[in-house]
């Protein structure tokens, strides 16, 4: 460069001394320094829009409110820890650094942390996953399997060391000691819990020997119960061929495990009681059958008894008729008897009167008036005509009192009386 030229340049430079000229890079560099040093770590609240997750794993989106927009980027190394799904329309609070991206002349927020506004990240993640699984139909009633009539073998997915196992074992021992228990010990909170729980459910399905799987944990904070909200757990329960009972936490916590399981109860103890209740219900049902059996058989016997009684009645009537005839016969008989008696009486009376008349006509009565009766002996033939007599004939003469024998002296043949 010649001196003149350099002078010229110097003059020009001098001329521009009040008006400093930056290159684009320079000024961008200055802006970058100023912006980045001025703001440092900031918290920004806004609504997510134009959210894009790039194949590289980085997230790009815009934060906006009524008056402005702010570009935001969240890189892969930090966004993997975000539990909920970032989506357009979501109100969030982000923390990060303001950074100037020189190639685009753009300032943006490099997001380090992102929190949904109003609710916790976990709660949001829960709601989002719940919504997703709901849309897939994982909670549909039509997928719920019936518990077996009587689960004789229960598989427990829980911590094998906790009070939960002890409670369940005690309730079953007292209420349904016929139930065998197989425990698959798992961690119920922490980073690995979700995987272990889902594996345990799968294991029971491969093992096949249990009638029901109880997925349970005692109460705790929402954080403690987080594993039971993991998608992997929900899917394992949904895919289980063996009916499942979810009993996680206490009344206030409803986990995805609860929603997807076939039966959902509030506490582990309640899960054990489901089995006890099944047993008791079955026993009551059996009592009912026993009662129905007895009443059916006694109905049958009663009916047969009635039929028998009717038949007996029908059999009785000829007998009755026979008895009637007998009675008639008896009556006739007694009538006959009285008739005969009457006839006999009549005859007796007649006989007596005849006898009296006979007596009146008796020769003895004549004799008493002084007459006598003579008969020729030994023939004892009554003598009515003296002409049959000859002297010396022996004659018996009967008087009113006594009699005597005499011999004939003479026979007088005229009307005169014979004298003995």
């Amino acid at each position: 460069m010649s001196k003149a030229t350099s002078d010229l340049f110097a003059a020009q430079t001098n001329h521009k001394k009040d008006k400093h000229v930056y290159t684009v890079s320079q000024i961008t560099q200055d802006i970058k320094l100023i912006l980045e040093n001025t703001f440092g770590e900031v918290w920004v609240e806004g609504e997510v829009s134009n959210f894009k997750a790039y194949p590289s794993g980085h997230f790009y989106f815009t934060l906006k409110d009524e008056g402005a927009v702010l570009a935001a980027a969240m890189f892969k190394n930090v966004n993997k820890d975000v539990k909920f799904k970032i989506e357009d329309g979501l109100k969030v609070i982000c923390s990060g650094r303001i950074e100037v991206y020189a190639p685009r002349g753009q300032y943006q927020l490099i997001v380090e942390k992102i929190e949904p506004k109003g609710i916790g990240a976990q709660q949001l993640a829960f709601e989002q996953l719940k919504n997703k699984l709901f849309k897939e139909g994982l909670f549909d009633q039509k997928h719920k399997k019936e518990l077996p009539l009587m689960p004789f073998c229960a598989g427990l997915v829980t911590s094998s060391a906790g009070a939960v196992v002890r409670d369940i074992l005690q309730i079953l021992k007292k209420g349904a000691p016929c139930v065998d228990v197989v425990i698959r010990g798992v961690r119920v909170q922490g980073e690995h819990a979700g995987r272990e729980i889902s594996e345990a459910v799968n294991d029971f399905n491969q093992f096949k020997q249990v009638d029901v799987i109880i997925i349970c944990r005692g109460g705790g904070s929402a954080e403690d119960l987080w594993s039971f909200n993991e998608e992997i757990v929900a899917r394992a329960i949904y895919n289980s061929q063996i009916p499942t009972i979810s009993a996680v936490g206490h009344q206030i916590n409803v986990t995805l495990s609860d929603l997807v399981a076939d039966v959902f109860v509030e506490t582990p103890s309640a899960a054990a009681k489901v089995i006890v209740d099944k047993k008791n219900a079955l026993l009551a049902e059996l009592d009912g059958y026993r009662y129905e059996l007895s009443s059916a058989i006694s109905n049958i016997l009663h009916r047969l008894k009635n039929t028998l009684a009717t038949l007996k009645g029908m059999l009785k009537s000829p007998l009755d008729r026979l008895l009637e005839k007998q009675q008639l016969l008896d009556e006739l008989n007694s009538g006959l008897n009285s008739h005969i008696q009457h006839a006999l009486d009549m005859w007796e009376e007649k006989f007596h009167s005849l006898m009296e008349r006979l007596e009146a006509l008796s020769p003895l009565a004549v004799l008493s008036r002084g007459y006598s009766l003579s008969s020729l002996m030994p023939e004892d033939k009554i003598i009515k005509d003296a002409s049959i007599l000859k002297p010396k004939d022996l004659i018996k003469t009967i008087l009113a009192k006594g009699s005597f024998l005499s011999s004939v002296q003479e026979v007088i043949k005229d009307e005169g009386k014979t004298k003995s």
Partner: protein, 79 residues
């Protein structure tokens, strides 16, 4: 499980017997036979349910194979 299967079968059979008996279409001889069978079934189901023997085991998995081990509840906690 065998036990469960036979219980479910028995209860189904029992339900059928109760129905048949209640229908009143059987002869006295058949009825008495069914009654006897029903009472026996109900009895055996009840005693299965009232069975007081149970096992408590741990399901273990080693190299893809399952095994059952006796579960020992810590006695100090039992009290």
């Amino acid at each position: 499980m065998k036990e469960k299967q036979s219980l479910e079968d028995d209860i189904r059979r029992l339900q059928k017997i109760v129905e048949e008996l209640a229908s009143g279409k059987l002869t006295l001889g058949e009825s008495l036979k069914k009654y006897e069978e029903g009472v026996k079934l109900a009895q055996s189901c009840s005693s299965t349910l009232n069975e007081a023997q149970r096992k408590v085991e741990l399901l273990m998995k080693k190299e893809g194979k399952y095994s059952l081990e006796k579960f020992e509840d810590s006695p100090s906690q039992e009290k």
